[in-house]
Amino acid sequence: MARARTLFDKIWDSHVVETQEDGTCLIYIDRHLVHEVTSPQAFEGLRVAGRKVRRPDATLAVADHNVPTTDRSAGIDDEESRIQVETLEKNCADFDVQYFGMNDVRQGIVHVIGPEQGMTQPGMTIVCGDSHTSTHGAFGALAFGIGTSEVEHVLATQTLIQRPAKNMRITVEGTPPPGVTAKDLILAIIGKIGTAGGTGHVIEYAGQAIRDLSMEGRMTICNMSIEAGARAGLIAPDEKTFEYLKGRPFAPKGAAWEQAVAYWKTLPSDEGAVYDTEVVLNAEEIVPYVTWGTSPEDALPITGFVPDPAQEPDENRREALQRAIDYMGLRGGMPLSEIKVDTVFIGSCTNSRIEDLRAAAEIARGRRVADHVRALVVPGSGLIKHQAEEEGLDRIFSEAGFEWREAGCSMCLAMNADKLRPGERSASTSNRNFEGRQGPGGRTHLVSPAMAAAAAITGHLTDVRELVKG
């Protein structure tokens, strides 16, 4: 194979089991993460057909979408949620799949625990019945979301029928100014290329601003690749990646570790590799971002204004703008920093890791949540919750008036009790602000953890840099 290859090309090539005449491939899947919402019908399909899970050792399951984030020792109140979680537990027992139960400290959001446990490694193909599987691409893995039928296919065959994607490279040069985080970078990227900008592509993120990010920052970036329409997001593995993984429970050890690292070092894209599409951003021009509307592409600097439909020449776009403004209860042209919030959610697979909690705690320290605001902090896993408590972050949050919760997907998508009532408005560190995402009639503004904490304190979307000034 003499041609210069991208990271994606290399991973793809090493996983092809077979190629059909029309270019469709059968690719092998190294790791399969499973959660309770998209798996029941898949396991049922296996049972009906009398099939087993081909690689239980390559499969890990957890309940995260439905679980309550309040005290769980008494189980789950909501009957359907309880049934769905119990179904997963039973399926794992029947099919010999490892499962982290609700009361296991390792339980958490599936895309938080995979890396945390060292299950996610460079060069792997990783799938899960959840679109934010793209998160794992931060490790230089090809990781993407699949539907329930494909979940069943992977369980039965450990392969997927796929066509190769195109390569896109997004290079972010320079160093972002203070107050600008990975979340702001990815919101800026989606704001620029749009919600379909990456369709048909896997995005490789490159450039100094990306390399400078910690592994957690890289996960935030890759997590939201799907919001730009991309199949997956990838960041080349480097010393930070190896350092993060070393010693984790599922990471290779001893001689196997050395062998793995030697292989991982061969993965970064070759010099001269060609990308179908290239986009460049300058990190120095980016400021803290918020979304104002009902799509992640409705992202703007906090210093900006709600777009004014009257200024939009295209009729279809004007209608879409007006619809979003009406749903969100805003006025065209109003400053984003005037938007009042009544709810703040710090959590989700995008931003619920220890660095996210530290960043939010730094803003919350010594301050109080505004009287009219309900603010929740939901750590991404039991282990993160534990570490945060060791660092005293939970006390900082509680003293400031934030609620400190157990791990789960929580208010990101309102499948458990944490949701917005109609008309309520949140500043949320999650990844989607679609109509009704956090509850019917709920209004969501996506922000970074520090920006969410700032909004909780002031009671409105706020430029966090103002709270950090001298």
Partner: protein
Amino acid sequence: MEKFREITSVAAPVPASNVDTDRIIPARFLKTIKRTGLGKHLFNDVRYNEDGSERPDFILNKEPYRNAQILVVGENFGCGSSREHAPWALTDFGIRCVIGTTFADIFYNNSFKNGLLLIKLDKEQVAKLMEDARNGHNARITVNLEKQEITRPDGEVIPFEVDPFRKHCLLEGLDDIGLTLKKEKGIGSFEERDRASHPWLYSAAS
């Protein structure tokens, strides 16, 4: 999976861009452990009022669209979450074919696994079909998968492209997993070679 050969139906127009899968089927309906029964919750939060009564102005609540088997949609239809519940809700409602300019990747894959034919056409062609759809009762559209042709009410034929493998599976109602398991030997040989070059991927975990 039901075979798809040819259908003739009224088409419902859904012109909005970026219709996401949360709108197609809100998260609270994902608690089901079955594939069936989601048709009544298709587009739930824009289709019903809070008290459960139908919103008279929502397209699928109006005649003749209540029986539509075809949707003509805006760009990037099906974006967002990977929930296969979205195509399940569509097919359970009775939709067999969706025609648009672009579809989100995961939704595209999921649809074909459920016998739901997605057709990509260019802007002008979709605009014509959207017009047909708006004409309601008098505008029945035929979609023939074998010939890869859409026939408009006025007789105009619009050819469409579809991936040969997907077409084959839809025409024959084939189950992917059964097909793949025929390649069991190939999968086994891959595992053997892979285990030799990347042994750490096969050792049992912690």
